[in-house]
């Protein structure tokens, strides 16, 4: 009964106070919609490309046309030989790549001399740089293959023989789960979940110290049947309940609206969300028992949570980080959640593969719970005394 009374009290606190209500309702709605709208176009198509055609031949024009007709690129600028390559990206900020077709391109190829097409990408933005690198290399390799096949056909090869010689090894690439490199499906689900951890953590970080500051601690202590464990569990349960409402908003509303599909089991996904929320709530409560100043607890929550996305290995793999950053990454629940999240959301991996993530998240939960309990039991007499019970 004590558990239920604390649960009800905490739920009422969350829904009646401006701050937790904002964090659980307004912030998810605004930030999730905002992030999704940033990536609504998902794939960057028709990147403006400049061509410096020093040959002006039929063959060079064919290559130029191929670049223009590709989905990922569009020829927006024709450069002259006088223009300096190193100034183009500064003078024409919209241009993302330059393709230089050398002089005597057509004639030399006909004479059996090898020619090089040079591709300059503006890799100051690595996202665009990588897209163009892939796109333009595919175009030029296809073009080169076409030229070779044509030459071999002129030497009495059959089409199949020519193709086999041009492509002796054919790599059938299967880019699984997100073949079009759609950023809406890649980044947005991750950003929403890292914000979920932050949302839960922030509310929990002000839960116990907030009650102490407002003089409500003796009341909630009474409600728990004077049992600190029940008090903590009741609070964690209420915060987790609200966290799961936000999880339903993510999985049940945001994903379908924006066409983000889950490849794996929804049950496993909900379990992972539940454990992320549960462990974040426990760690937040722990911070709340350590720091009596609410604003200080929030600062700690901010410092701890803000870089979680960068440390999680989402964009840059953990194995590429120095050991101390790798170690810090392991101290954040989101890092462990993310692995399981990918395994379910994208890879549809069998349940046994997400067990390590589940175990890690449970360790965070129990660590938070035990430290909170010990600290609360130590502080207990003082808290009751100070609030005049």
């Amino acid at each position: 009964m004590g558990f239920y009374r604390v649960f009800k009290y905490e739920l009422f606190r969350i829904l009646s106070q401006v701050s937790p209500r904002n964090i659980f309702i307004i912030i998810p709605l605004v930030t999730f919609s905002f992030l999704t709208l940033i990536y609504i176009k998902g794939v960057i198509r028709e990147n403006p490309v400049a061509v410096m055609d020093l040959d002006h031949s039929q063959l060079s024009r064919t290559l130029s046309q191929m670049i223009n007709q590709s989905n990922g690129t569009e020829v927006k600028l024709h450069l002259t030989s006088e223009q300096k390559i190193d100034r183009v990206f500064l003078d024409y900020p919209e241009i993302t790549a330059i393709v230089v077709i050398p002089k005597d391109f057509d004639a030399d190829i006909r004479k059996g001399r090898s020619k090089t097409v040079t591709i300059f990408t503006n890799s100051a933005n690595i996202v665009i740089g990588n897209i163009l690198k892939k796109e333009l290399l595919t175009i030029t390799n296809t073009f080169a293959g076409g030229v070779q096949i044509k030459k071999l056909l002129n030497k009495d090869f059959t089409y199949n023989e020519a193709l086999a010689l041009v492509l002796p090894i054919k790599v059938n690439t299967h880019s699984l789960y997100n073949p079009w490199y759609n950023y809406l499906f890649y980044l947005t689900p991750g950003l929403m979940t890292v914000l979920l951890q932050m949302i839960v953590f922030f509310v929990a970080a002000r839960s116990i110290n907030g009650d102490i500051t407002r003089g409500n601690y003796p009341r909630i202590f009474e409600l728990s049947g004077k049992n600190p464990l029940i008090l903590i569990l009741g609070k964690i349960a209420a915060i987790t309940f609200m966290g799961m409402v936000v999880s339903i908003l993510i999985i049940g509303i945001m994903y379908p609206i924006f066409g983000i599909t889950v490849n794996g089991s929804y049950l496993s996904l909900f379990l992972l969300f539940f454990l992320l929320v549960l462990s974040s709530a426990a760690l937040g409560i722990m911070i709340s028992t350590i720091f009596s100043e609410e604003i200080m607890a929030m600062d700690i929550a901010f410092v701890y949570n803000s870089p979680a996305f960068v440390f999680s290995g989402f964009t840059f793999p953990i194995m590429g980080m120095p050991w101390y950053d790798n170690f810090y990454a392991q101290l954040i629940p989101y890092t462990h959640f993310l692995k399981g999240f990918f395994q379910v959301y994208q890879m549809d991996a069998p349940f046994r593969y997400i067990l390590p993530s589940i175990q890690a998240l449970l360790v965070f939960f129990f660590a938070g719970l035990i430290v909170s309990l010990v600290l609360l039991m130590i502080k207990q007499p003082k808290l009751i005394l100070n609030t005049g019970d």
Binding site: T116, P168, I169, N172, N178, P317
Partner: protein, 388 residues
């Protein structure tokens, strides 16, 4: 009228506020340094090496073994398992201990030798783009090289000398030259942007908290009582300006070098961006802070603004590819022109003329936000007077 004594008094009062408020102190002094170190060090290695790949070799011929050795020789890839069993490779893949599977079917070697077109399969875990791209590039490069070698050998067998055989085998070559970030690494790309985001967010939260705390404690701007706007503005923002100009100096002169970023060409251009950026951010902090009656509430809201501010700035995802209202919003936030400018100065090594439009953009933001700050100052003061 500017009264130096009044400015000095407001300045020293603000110092007391900062050093007595652990939250502001942590936000504006400890957090930027901590973040600069931690985030900077993440990308210290800059490029990822040895991305794990599993190989399923159903052919087990010298040809496939040679190909596997070639793929493994790439510094960016590491063959973590070579097996004849797809289930074993899948196990590693599902554990995320291999980011891709390279598959050689039976008779691969035979088909390659007879030039019958040998098919290999490459299965990429595209849930994260970076490892997937690295494997794709590494495997394709290795197999295209082998393909070219097969063609050269074929033409030589037809009596061509090596040079002519090479020309016949590779009539058109492509050479890729990524500019400004030649190795396409994340560190050079992200670090300047992240550093700037840290500066903006910590300044917004720190100064915003100080103003919101005044609202909370005194129901108005106590620091502004009995002073004109300019004295209050200089006194209140003075320490933040000094501190954040010091951070700016550190990032321009030292910080970026510590993390081995390309040295900038024009320090003049960098300062021309930093000065209006910090001033506009100070104004934004004052405006936001003035609307909050609780320090904690401001902290909560701004804590959740870091990701949206960074992503809407257009630094990673081009602003031009966003919907129009977001493009408009992006232009109103100081970090957007700042990041564009920093990219041009720090990464693309441009000079002042290359960022003059962005400098103007930042000064316009500063001017408009200053008018707003003046409005808020007098509005709050009028409220205080009417209440008294």
């Amino acid at each position: 009228m500017i009264k130096l004594k009044k400015i000095g008094q407001i300045f020293s009062d603000e110092l007391k506020v900062i050093f007595n408020d652990h939250s502001i102190l942590l936000t504006i002094i400890v957090a930027p340094m901590l973040y600069l170190f931690f985030l900077g060090s993440i990308y210290l290695n800059k490029e990822i090496e040895e991305v794990p790949v599993a190989v399923v070799d159903m052919d087990k011929t010298p040809v496939t073994r040679q190909l596997i050795r070639l793929v493994d020789a790439s510094p960016k890839l590491k063959i973590v398992q070579s097996t004849g069993n797809m289930a074993e490779a899948k196990d590693l893949y599902y554990k995320m201990e291999a980011d891709g599977i390279l598959y050689f079917p039976k008779n691969f070697g035979k088909k390659l030798k007879r030039l019958k077109g040998a098919d290999a399969g490459l299965y990429l875990n595209n849930s994260r783009f970076m490892p997937s791209n690295t494997i794709n590039e590494g495997v394709q490069t290795a197999l295209l090289t082998v393909g070219a070698g097969v063609r050269i050998k074929y033409f030589m067998s037809k009596g061509l000398i090596p040079k002519l055989a090479f020309n016949e085998a590779l009539p058109v070559k492509s050479e890729l030259k990524p500019m400004y970030n030649t190795t396409n690494n994340y560190g050079d790309f992200l670090l300047p942007g992240l550093f700037l985001l840290i500066l903006q967010q910590t300044l917004l939260i720190g100064l915003g908290e100080s103003i919101a705390a005044e609202n909370e404690k005194y129901g108005g701007l106590k620091s502004g009582s009995g002073s004109g706007f300019l004295s209050w503005y200089i006194g209140k923002s003075g320490f933040y300006l000094l501190l954040f100009f010091a951070f700016a100096f550190f990032t321009i002169e030292t910080g970026f070098r510590v993390f081995d970023l390309i040295p900038i060409r024009s320090t003049f251009a960098a300062w021309n961006l930093y000065v209006p950026f910090i001033l506009a951010t100070v104004n934004l902090a004052m405006i936001i802070g003035s609307y909050f009656k609780k320090q904690t509430l401001l902290m909560e809201i701004l804590a959740f603004s870091s990701y949206p501010f960074f992503l809407v700035s257009g630094y990673s995802w081009p602003a031009g590819k966003m919907i129009l209202p977001l493009q408009f919003l992006s232009n109103l936030i100081p970090i957007s022109p700042m990041l564009d400018g920093i990219k041009r100065v720090f990464i693309m090594r441009g000079d002042f003329l290359d960022v003059s439009g962005l400098v103007l953009h930042l000064w316009v933001l500063f001017g408009v936000s200053l008018i707003w700050v003046i409005y808020r100052f007098y509005r709050i003061r009028a409220k205080e007077i009417s209440l008294n």
